[in-house]
């Protein structure tokens, strides 16, 4: 028994709607449920589940439920209403209270805000970010799929206004101890981080925190900031701000290899600052993030010890299989591919190190394969894998079924806004993998103060059969070793 409704005049963000969908899908007797804004992608999704979808606009909400009986259907629709009611923000109710602001400009005007966090869908994010910049706010743009020319225009506007644009597609920032987006809870300290990579920054700050070295600010600049087109606009702005900042005595720039001409310009800019600047540029022949962390700890006067790991029995089967890496963090995926390809040869990917190593559009694994589930193409219309790991869990189970899979490599990133208990979500598939004789190696980026609990997550993953490393580089090296030189077909 199916019901399909379109509701007008009620917008709810995709993360909240995903939670509503899950809650309703979980009811006894409900075969499937889609509660989502009626974007083309979500309409296709519903159609794929067998619903007859009427024409709709993205401003309408699609509610589609397939239930075993009419009673269950009614109960499910009632549950949709309840869940939506709970996800709605409370409205001002006091006499004469102002209603909730409807634009960023209005929100800024009502408070003493100094920072904005924009996570609206990518095609709209520019307008909201312009509003924030015009209001004089440092602006983090979490949204991805923002056109490149809009990024350049936004950053030029910000430079004129004397504020910083973090992003677009900036997942991580820490401002004076306040975490924005996916951020780990780190101790305060002298290290300022400028990051063109969110998970790269998270790896660095968690390793620093583990070594007792704290962070003043971590300023994300967006993955394209050091490209030829964007030319380091935000990186230079961030360097200047950290140079002026009293709490910062050492700056680290974390990025994938930048456009060479941009790298030269940024290094020249950094050389002119009073604060020393270290560059951690992930690439062939460059130190990995863990090595960089050790360098930073030494420079900050701390004591470095190798990050912890937890291993166990080695799986017995699939000795000739290929290495399969499934990542939530793009930079962690990159780092693992650099280490793996140096030892094993080509690693196919949706974010390949070499264009000839690109996977097909179906992303089917070929030999050694690593997939970044946080890539723009996989997050369009759905939450980031660090929030919703279901896509990766499905792929993990498929890799276990694939007879060519030899070793599995995963990352787990903890911190604010990440899934509340990723280890438990992975436990079942991890058991399945180890039962099939496939060793699983997991990197785990987190701090003792992260809400998920670093040690609890490590223990849970390890109990499920995974070897766990706090260093992503160490995890990748271990996975390469377990794979052996004969794995895969190149």
């Amino acid at each position: 028994m199916r019901a399909v409704e379109l509701r007008r005049g009620s917008y709810v963000d995709s993360v909240s709607l995903m939670q509503v969908s899950r809650r309703v899908s979980g009811l006894e007797g409900v075969r499937s449920a889609v509660v989502a804004m009626a974007t083309d992608l979500n309409l296709d999704l519903a159609a794929g589940l067998g619903f007859e979808v009427p024409p709709a606009s993205p401003n309408e909400m699609l509610v589609a439920v397939d239930a075993a009986s009419a009673d269950v259907l009614d109960a499910a629709l009632a549950e949709v209403d309840t869940a939506l009611g709970e996800s709605a923000r409370p409205q001002a109710s006091g006499f004469g209270d102002a209603p909730a602001p409807v634009t960023v400009r209005a929100a800024a005007a009502r408070t003493q805000a100094t920072v904005a966090l924009i996570s609206t869908p990518g095609q709209y994010a520019f307008a909201d970010a312009v509003d924030a910049v015009d209001a004089g706010l440092h602006t983090m743009v979490f949204s991805d799929n923002v056109p490149l020319e809009q990024e350049v225009a936004l950053k030029d506007r910000a430079a004129a206004a004397g504020v910083l644009v973090m992003g677009p597609d900036c997942g991580t920032a820490v401002l004076g101890g306040v975490g924005l987006g996916f951020a780990n809870v780190v101790r305060p300290g002298p290290v300022g981080i400028v990051a063109a990579s969110g998970t790269g920054a998270q790896q660095l700050m968690t390793l620093l925190d583990g070594a007792g070295v704290g962070v003043s600010h971590c300023l994300g600049v967006g993955g394209r900031d050091l490209s030829a087109t964007v030319a380091g606009r935000s990186t230079r702005q961030a360097l200047d701000l950290l140079d002026e900042d009293e709490a910062t005595s050492l700056v680290v720039v974390v990025s994938k290899p930048p456009e060479p001409s941009v790298a030269v310009a940024v290094r020249e800019h950094a050389a002119g600052l009073a604060t020393p600047v270290l560059f951690a540029l992930l690439g062939p022949g460059e130190p990995d993030l863990t090595t960089t962390a050790a360098t930073v700890v030494a420079a900050a006067g701390g004591t470095w010890a190798a990050p912890e790991h937890w291993t166990g029995a080695v799986g017995s089967g699939r000795r000739a299989g290929a290495l399969r890496g499934l990542f939530a963090g793009g930079t962690l995926c990159d780092e693992a591919m650099l280490l793996a390809s140096a030892a094993l040869g080509p690693v196919r990917s949706n974010i390949p190190l070499d264009p000839s190593w690109a996977l097909g559009d179906d992303l089917a694994s070929v030999g050694h394969t690593m997939i970044d589930f946080g890539d723009d193409r996989l997050t369009r219309g759905r939450p980031h894998p660090m929030i919703d790991g279901s896509q990766r869990v499905q792929r993990l189970l498929a890799e276990v079924e694939d007879p060519t899979t030899g070793v599995l490599l995963l990352d787990v990133v903890l911190g604010l806004n990440a899934a509340p208990d990723p280890a438990s979500e992975l436990a079942g598939p991890l058991h399945a993998a180890t039962a099939a004789g496939i060793p699983v190696v997991t990197s785990l980026a987190g701090t003792r103060d992260d809400p998920q609990g670093l040690r609890e997550q490590a223990a849970r993953l390890n109990e499920a059969g995974a070897w766990v490393f706090l260093s992503n580089a160490a995890a990748a090296r271990c996975a390469v070793e377990l794979t052996g030189p004969s794995g895969g077909d190149g």
């Binding site: 917008y11 963000d13 995709s14 993360v15 909240s16 804004m37 401003n59 996800s87 923000r89 006499f95 004469g96 209270d97 102002a98 209603p99 909730a100 409807v102 634009t103 960023v104 400009r105 209005a106 929100a107 800024a108 005007a109 009502r110 408070t111 003493q112 805000a113 100094t114 920072v115 904005a116 966090l117 924009i118 996570s119 609206t120 709209y124 520019f126 307008a127 909201d128 312009v130 924030a132 209001a135 004089g136 706010l137 440092h138 979490f142 809009q150 506007r157 004397g162 504020v163 401002l175 004076g176 101890g177 306040v178 924005l180 701000l241 900042d245 939450p383 929030i387 604010l416 806004n417």
Partner: protein, 463 residues
């Protein structure tokens, strides 16, 4: 701006980020966000237009600097050079075939009043044929007219000057409520009142106004806003203050005391008399912002009973029109929603200038008349600050701690938020000849704003 630990963060988008900030003890100002109502490419183009912020600031400054003095009262033929057979009307241009009942009724009445027809039927025939008659929007002459807004050459008009900008605006004299020409009624009662207004009231007011310093209409508005008038559906304090301004001169006019008494009784008995002075004052204010390239501020909102039309500072005198909505509210006597005509009149110039529905918070006395409650009025005005570029300190609203009226409706904010300007309005009968049937609230159609935004986006490409 230097780095530091933020105490408040503005969030727009996923609610989880706001929650995570709140858990860290950081204040959150969460935007109640929804996808823009218009083309995302147009939104981006106009938001990214480097001219926009400065142009809108200029538009606001121009509006706040405008003046409005009543300098004369005279027939439309003299004031505007309106010739026999020429009429003005409210809203954007409209041809007879698409004209609404009240506009047709008012044009019929004007034909009869001018002696251009001897019966409603022959008037209608001539108007339909366009034989020797024509009509154009009041706004095309810098004038404004409430409801049908029909002006004929013999009707007398207030003439207001903005010396700061060297501009002039005009509006007819208000006839009162009920069966009146502006609501589309044209029977003998209506026509005889119009004749008395031309023969007695107009000349009396002319003599009074010419015989003294120009009345500072803007100063009266400032006071009325603090006395419970929002300047659109409530003009009681303004009307009485205006009477106070001209009464000595009326008494000194030397005209027959019966005429003076009748005029005073007429003005004092019509709480909306001053609306026809608020409107041209608002027109002078918004006209001051016209013609500023790159500005997304609305300079005209007007309706003809069929279409709603807007103009913006950055797009010249181009109308962006869409079918007008029908107001919701309370009805007079036995009238009901089926009797109401779609939204009509140039009186939304008051909202364009920050008064009327935008300043609803200052007029709690009429919230029930337009079908609301006092908290709704306070919330409405506070929401209007979100879609306007600034505040007018001259129109200070006591209940909001003397905050200025929300001024300068911004097309980008309207399209992005989906929040439309709130308009307080009267309701005309759908059928020509009926008159007023009620009053209530209405909003413009969003399509006016999305079209304006597209045009502004086009101007970015050409700039």
């Amino acid at each position: 701006m230097s780095l530091g630990t933020p105490s408040v963060v503005v969030t727009a988008g996923a609610a989880m980020f706001a929650d995570a900030l709140a858990l860290q003890g950081v204040g959150v100002s969460a935007v109640q966000w929804q996808p823009p109502a218009g083309d995302p490419a147009s939104v981006a183009a106009v938001m990214g237009d480097p001219r926009r912020a400065a142009a809108n600031a200029r538009a606001l400054e121009a509006m706040l600097g405008a003046q409005a003095h009543l300098v004369d009262v005279l027939p439309a033929a003299e004031a505007l050079g309106l010739e026999r057979g020429q009429f003005l009307h409210a809203g954007p241009p409209v041809e007879w075939e698409r004209a609404s009942g009240p506009l047709r009724g008012a044009l019929i009445g004007a034909m009869l009043f001018e002696g251009l027809a001897d019966s409603p039927a022959s008037a209608e025939q001539a108007l339909a044929a366009g034989a020797g008659v024509g009509w154009e929007p009041c706004h095309s002459r810098g004038a404004v007219g409430p409801m049908a807004g029909v002006v004929s050459p013999s009707m007398w008009m207030f003439c207001l000057r903005d010396e700061a900008n060297g501009t002039t605006s005009w509006c007819s004299l208000n006839e009162g409520l009920g069966k009146v020409l502006r609501y589309g009624a044209y029977d003998e009662e209506v026509l005889s009142r119009l004749r008395w207004m031309s023969d007695v009231l107009g000349p009396l007011l002319q003599q009074a106004v010419r015989g003294q310093e120009p009345v500072d209409v803007r100063a009266v508005i400032s006071q009325m806003v603090q006395m419970g008038d929002e300047g659109h559906n409530r003009n009681r304090a303004g009307t009485l203050m205006f009477l106070r301004e001209v009464l000595p001169a009326l008494i000194d006019s030397g005209r027959p005391s019966a005429d003076v008494a009748a005029a005073v009784r007429f003005v004092a008995g019509n709480d909306h008399f001053f609306l026809n002075l608020v409107m041209p004052a608002c027109k002078l204010q918004t006209a001051a912002a016209a013609g500023i390239p790159g500005s997304s501020v609305v300079t005209v909102m007007a309706r003809n009973g069929t279409d709603f039309g807007i103009q913006t500072a950055g797009t010249g005198d181009t109308w962006f029109t869409a079918p007008a909505n029908t107001p919701e509210g309370l009805f007079l006597g036995a009238f009901g929603p089926e009797d109401a005509n779609p939204d009509i009149g140039d009186s939304a110039i008051t909202e364009t200038a920050g008064l009327g529905g935008l300043s609803m918070a200052t007029a709690p006395a009429i919230v029930r008349f337009v079908g609301g409650a006092v908290p709704d009025a306070l919330a409405t005005t506070q929401r209007m600050y979100d879609i306007t570029v600034g505040e007018n300190p001259a129109f200070a609203i006591p209940i909001l701690e003397f905050r200025g009226a929300p001024t300068g409706i911004d097309v980008t904010s309207v399209v992005r938020s989906g929040v439309l300007p709130q308009i307080n309005t009267g309701m005309a009968g759908r059928v020509a000849g009926t008159g007023q049937v009620g009053a209530g609230l209405v909003t413009p159609p969003m399509a006016c704003f999305t079209q304006a935004l597209d045009a502004l986006a086009g101007s970015v490409l050409r700039s």
